[in-house]
C-alpha cells in the first residue's frame, strides 16, 4: 500500500469527456455538466487571481503609514472591488457551480444534471455578469464597499449601477444552479439511493441550493431598486426624498447573511467527504451532519439583523437577533464534533486533501468562535467595523471556504483531469498558505480588538508593526498560491495518469474512469453505502483502489 509508483495505464488515453470532441463550440455550448464545471472552474480561478491581486495591493498600501502605492480614492475602489469580485465572482459560485457541478451527477450515478440547458444558461449568465463587473472596473471602479450601503451608494458618482447590474445577473446564475441541484437531487437519484444513502456532499449542496433559491431573489430586487434609485431617483432608499436607507441594509443582509452559508455549507460537505476517506472510517453521525446542514440553511434566514446592531434598530430586535445568531453555532459545532470523532481511531493518511481538511477545521474553529464575540451585543459595539470583523470574516470565508475549496480541488483533481499532481509540493504549499494566512489575520484580530477601524486608508503609529506583519503574511500566502498554480498546471501537462479511484473512496464518482466518459458511466454503477470502506481495497497491480467483488466480501 505504500507504493506510489506510476500506475500501469495504457499509453493511449481512453476516450473521455475531455477528448471526445474539441473546438470552442464543443465547450462553450456544451450541455455536459463536467465541461460546464471545468469552465466554471477556469472562470472562478481567473476571478480569484484578480481578487487576489487586489488583496495584495491593499496589503501593500497598508504596509506603511500614509500613501505607499496608491491614492486614498484608489484604495477605496480597490477594497470595494476586492470584496465584490471575491464574493460575487469567486466564493459564491466557487464550490457549488465549479466542483459541485462536476461531482453532483457523478455522485448520483446520473448522466447529467436534471436541466442541462439551464445549467449552461447559468454559466453564460455568469460570463455576462462577470464581464459587466469587469466593465465597471475598466470604467473607473466603485468606492462604496462591497455592501453598497445607501445613501452613499445612491449619491457617489462612481459606477455603482454597472457593478450592481453585474451582481444582479450573477444572482440569476446562482439561482439557476441552485434550482438545478434541487431538482437533480429530487428526481435523479438512482434506484436504491434514498435520502440518507447520499454522500454528505449532496446534503450540503442541497442545503446550499435551498438558500440560493430562497435568498438570492431578494438580493435581486434590492440591487434592482438601488439601480432604479440611482437612474430614476425613486427615493425609496434616499433619506433626502423621505426614503429609508436602513431598509436597504435589511434587504441587503436578508440575502447577504444567508449568502455566507451559500459559501460555507458546500465547504462543509467537502470536508465531510475527505475526513472520512482519509481516515478510512465510516463518517460518524451521518444523520446529525445531514440535518445540521439543513438546520444551518434554516437558521441562516433568521440572523441578518446581527449586521445591524449599531444601526439603530430596537433593543428587543438586537436581543432576538443575537440569540438566534448564537443558535447557528450549534449545528456548526455538531459538524465539527462529528468530523473529529470520525478521525478518532481512524487510519489517517495525510495526503494533500486531508492536510487542507485539517487546516480547515483549525481555521474554521477560530472563525466560528470569534463570531460569538461579534454576536454578543456588548462586545459587538466595541468590535463593530474594526479589523476584528475583517479577520473573523476571512477566517470563515478564506480559512473555511477557500481552504475547503482547495481541499476539494485537490481531492477531485485526479477525477476531473485524469492526472496526479506533485504530492510533496501539495502538502508543503498547503502548510505555507495556512501559515501565511494566520500571520495575516491574527495580526488583524489584535488590531481590531485595539480599535483599528476597517477600510481606513491610514493608521496611527501604534498599529504600524501589526499592519506590517499582516502584509508580510499576505505575501507568504501569495507564494503558497503560486506554488499551487505551478504544480497543478504542470500536472495537466506531465502528471502521472490517475487511477479511477486513487484515494479509496466508496462513493459513486470514483466508480468510473478518470476522467469520466462523456455520459459519466459505461454501465449503471452499483449503489452502496458511500462510507463503507470494506467494499474497496488497494490493488497494487493498478496502483489504486478497486471494489471488493461481492462474493468474496467479508460477511
Amino acid at each position: 500500500m505504500s507504493t506510489n509508483d506510476t500506475p500501469m495505464t495504457p499509453a493511449v488515453v481512453p476516450e473521455n469527456y475531455l477528448n471526445c470532441s474539441s473546438g470552442f463550440r464543443s465547450w462553450f455550448f456544451t450541455l455536459d455538466h463536467k465541461r460546464i464545471g471545468v469552465m466554471y472552474l477556469a472562470s472562478i480561478l481567473a476571478m480569484f487571481l484578480i481578487g487576489g491581486i487586489m488583496a495584495l495591493m491593499i496589503r501593500t498600501e497598508l504596509l506603511t503609514q500614509g500613501q505607499t502605492i496608491m491614492s486614498s480614492d484608489d484604495y477605496n475602489k480597490v477594497f470595494t472591488l476586492h470584496g465584490a469580485v471575491m464574493i460575487f465572482l469567486f466564493i459564491i459560485p466557487g464550490i457549488p457551480a465549479a466542483l459541485g457541478n462536476f461531482v453532483l451527477p457523478l455522485m448520483l450515478g446520473a448522466k447529467d444534471v436534471a436541466l442541462p440547458r439551464l445549467n449552461l444558461a447559468s454559466y453564460h449568465l455568469y460570463v455576462v455578469g462577470a464581464l459587466v463587473c469587469v466593465l465597471s472596473i475598466v470604467l473607473g471602479g466603485v468606492d462604496t464597499g462591497w455592501t453598497f450601503y445607501a445613501p452613499y451608494s445612491t449619491t457617489t458618482n462612481t459606477h455603482v449601477s454597472i457593478l450592481t447590474l453585474g451582481a444582479f445577473i450573477l444572482g440569476f446564475s446562482s439561482v439557476f444552479t441552485g434550482l438545478n441541484f434541487i431538482v437533480t437531487i429530487h428526481r435523479m437519484r438512482p434506484a436504491g439511493m434514498g435520502w440518507f444513502d447520499m454522500p454528505l456532499m449532496l446534503w450540503a449542496l442541497y442545503a446550499t441550493a435551498i438558500i440560493q433559491v430562497l435568498a438570492t431573489p431578494v438580493l435581486g430586487i434590492t440591487l434592482l431598486l438601488l439601480i432604479v434609485e440611482r437612474v430614476m431617483g425613486i427615493g425609496i432608499f434616499d433619506p433626502a426624498l423621505g426614503g429609508d436607507p436602513v431598509l436597504y441594509q435589511h434587504f441587503f443582509w436578508f440575502y447577504s447573511h444567508p449568502a455566507v452559508y451559500i459559501m460555507i455549507l458546500p465547504a462543509m460537505g467537502i470536508i465531510s467527504e475527505i475526513i472520512s476517506v482519509f481516515s478510512r472510517k465510516h463518517i460518524f453521525g451521518y444523520r446529525a451532519i445531514a440535518y445540521s446542514s439543513i438546520a444551518i440553511a434554516a437558521f441562516s434566514f433568521l440572523v441578518w439583523g446581527h449586521h445591524m446592531f449599531t444601526s439603530g434598530q430596537s433593543e428587543l430586535m438586537n436581543m432576538i437577533f443575537s440569540a438566534l445568531t448564537f443558535s447557528v453555532s450549534i449545528p456548526s459545532a455538531v459538524k465539527m464534533f462529528n468530523w473529529i470523532t470520525t478521525m478518532y481511531k481512524g487510519s489517517i493518511r495525510l495526503d494533500t486533501p486531508m492536510i487542507y481538511a485539517l487546516c480547515f477545521m483549525f481555521l474554521f474553529g477560530i472563525g466560528g468562535l470569534t463570531g460569538l464575540f461579534l454576536g454578543s451585543l456588548a462586545t459587538d459595539v466595541h468590535l463593530h467595523d474594526t479589523y476584528f470583523v475583517v479577520a473573523h470574516f476571512h477566517y470563515v470565508m478564506f480559512g473555511g471556504t477557500v481552504i475547503a475549496f482547495l481541499a476539494g480541488l485537490h481531492y477531485w483533481w485526479p477525477k476531473m483531469f485524469g492526472r496526479m499532481y506533485d504530492e510533496k509540493l501539495g502538502r508543503i504549499s498547503a502548510i505555507i498558505i495556512t501559515v501565511g494566512f494566520n500571520i495575516t489575520f491574527i495580526a488583524q484580530f489584535i488590531m481590531g480588538s485595539r480599535g483599528m477601524p476597517r477600510r481606513y486608508y491610514d493608521y496611527v503609529d501604534e498599529f504600524s508593526l501589526l499592519h506590517f506583519i499582516s502584509s508580510m503574511g499576505s505575501y507568504v500566502m501569495a507564494i503558497g498560491f503560486f506554488m499551487v498554480a505551478g504544480y497543478l498546471v504542470k500536472s495537466l501537462v506531465s502528471g502521472p495518469r490517475a487511477h479511477a479511484n486513487p484515494w479509496g473512496s466508496a462513493a459513486l464518482e470514483w466508480q468510473t474512469q478518470s476522467p469520466p466518459v462523456h455520459f459519466n458511466f459505461d454501465d449503471d454503477p452499483e449503489v452502496c453505502n458511500p462510507y463503507d470502506y470494506s467494499r474497496v481495497q488497494y490493488d497494487a497491480a493498478s496502483g489504486g483502489y478497486v471494489r471488493v467483488p461481492s462474493e468474496v466480501k467479508p460477511a
Binding site: 436534471a114 431578494v218 425609496i236 434616499d238 434587504f251 449503471d524
Partner: protein, 288 residues
C-alpha cells in the same frame, strides 16, 4: 417527491421512441416531473423577488399611512378593476389551453393561447393609458414628482373618474375637501412628526401651503406604485414572449397527450403573474 426513483433505470424502451425525451432521463415521466419541480422552484424565486417590494410597501405604509390614503385616490379604480378582470379571464383561457394540450385538442389549444395573448396585450394597453395619465400630471416617483399647476385642478381631473363614490355633495363645492382630511387624520406619519402631534391639521396646512394639505413625500407612493406595477408589467411582457412561442409551436402541432410540458409550465407562470396582480390591485388601488 421520490416517486420517480422507482421507475429509474428500468428499461424505457417504450418511451425511447418519444423524440422529446432528453438523453439523461430514463422516462418521459421523470423528465416531466423534473421540469415541473424546476418550474415551481422558479415561481418561488419570483414570489421572493416581488416579496422584497411587498415588504417595502408594508414598511412605508406602516410608517406613512397618510401618504397611501392620500395618493391612492389618484389611481383609476375602474381601469384597475377592468385589468384585474382581463387577467383573470386570461388565466382561465390559459388553464383551458393546458387542458386542451393534454387532450390533444389542437384547435382549441391554439384558440385559447391566442385569447390569452390578446388579454395580455389588452392589459398592457390599459396599463399604458394609466401610466400616461400619471405622466401628464407629473404624478411620478421621487425626484420626478412635480404636480403642475394648481393641485386642485389636477386633483379634480383625476378624482372625478377615479372615485365617484367619494365625490359627495361636499366635493362638488370644494374638491379639496374630499382629499384633504385624509392627510390630516393620520397622526403618526411623517407629516405629523415634523410638527406638533396634537395639531396635525394646522401643521400640515402650514407646511404645504402651496400644495394644499397634501402630506409630505407623496412621491414615495408613486415610486412604489411604478416599481411594483412596472416589474409586474415586465413579467407580462415576458409571458407574451413565451406564449407567442407556444402559439407558434402549437400551430406546428408539437403538443399532444404525450408532450405538453411547455404549455403546462407556462400556464403555471402565467397564473403567478395573474396572482401577483390580484395582490397589487387591492394594495394599491383599494386602500380605503
Amino acid at each position: 417527491m421520490s416517486d420517480s426513483q422507482s421507475s429509474s433505470h428500468v428499461d424505457s424502451a417504450a418511451h425511447a421512441a418519444n423524440p422529446n425525451l432528453q438523453h439523461h432521463f430514463d422516462s418521459m415521466e421523470q423528465q416531466y416531473e423534473s421540469g415541473k419541480l424546476g418550474m415551481w422552484l422558479f415561481l418561488v424565486t419570483e414570489i421572493l423577488l416581488f416579496g422584497g417590494l411587498f415588504c417595502a410597501y408594508a414598511v412605508y405604509r406602516h410608517n406613512h399611512p397618510e401618504i397611501f390614503t392620500y395618493a391612492h385616490q389618484f389611481l383609476d379604480k375602474s381601469l384597475g378593476g377592468f385589468n384585474t378582470i382581463v387577467l383573470i379571464v386570461s388565466s382561465l383561457t390559459m388553464a383551458m389551453a393546458v387542458r386542451a394540450a393534454q387532450l390533444g385538442q389542437r384547435r382549441l389549444l391554439t384558440t385559447c393561447l391566442a385569447l390569452t395573448l390578446a388579454c395580455a396585450f389588452l392589459f398592457l394597453g390599459v396599463k399604458f393609458v394609466e401610466y400616461e395619465h400619471k405622466w401628464k400630471h407629473g404624478l411620478l416617483w421621487g425626484k420626478n414628482y412635480e404636480v403642475q399647476g394648481e393641485m386642485a385642478g389636477a386633483t379634480e381631473a383625476l378624482m372625478i373618474p377615479a372615485a365617484p363614490s367619494q365625490s359627495g355633495s361636499a366635493a362638488d363645492v370644494d374638491p379639496n375637501a374630499t382629499i384633504l382630511p385624509r392627510a390630516a387624520r393620520a397622526p403618526e406619519g411623517l407629516a405629523a412628526e415634523v410638527g406638533d402631534h396634537g395639531d396635525g391639521v394646522a401643521d400640515a396646512a402650514d407646511d404645504h401651503a402651496t400644495h394644499g394639505l397634501e402630506p409630505k413625500n407623496v412621491h414615495l407612493f408613486f415610486g412604489i406604485y411604478f416599481v411594483m406595477t412596472g416589474l409586474h408589467g415586465i413579467h407580462v411582457l415576458a409571458g407574451i414572449g413565451v406564449i407567442t412561442w407556444l402559439l407558434i409551436r402549437s400551430l406546428r402541432g408539437d403538443f399532444g397527450p404525450d408532450y405538453f410540458a411547455p404549455v403546462d409550465f407556462t400556464g403555471l407562470y402565467w397564473h403567478v403573474v395573474d396572482l401577483i396582480w390580484i395582490f397589487l390591485f387591492p394594495l394599491l388601488y383599494l386602500i380605503d
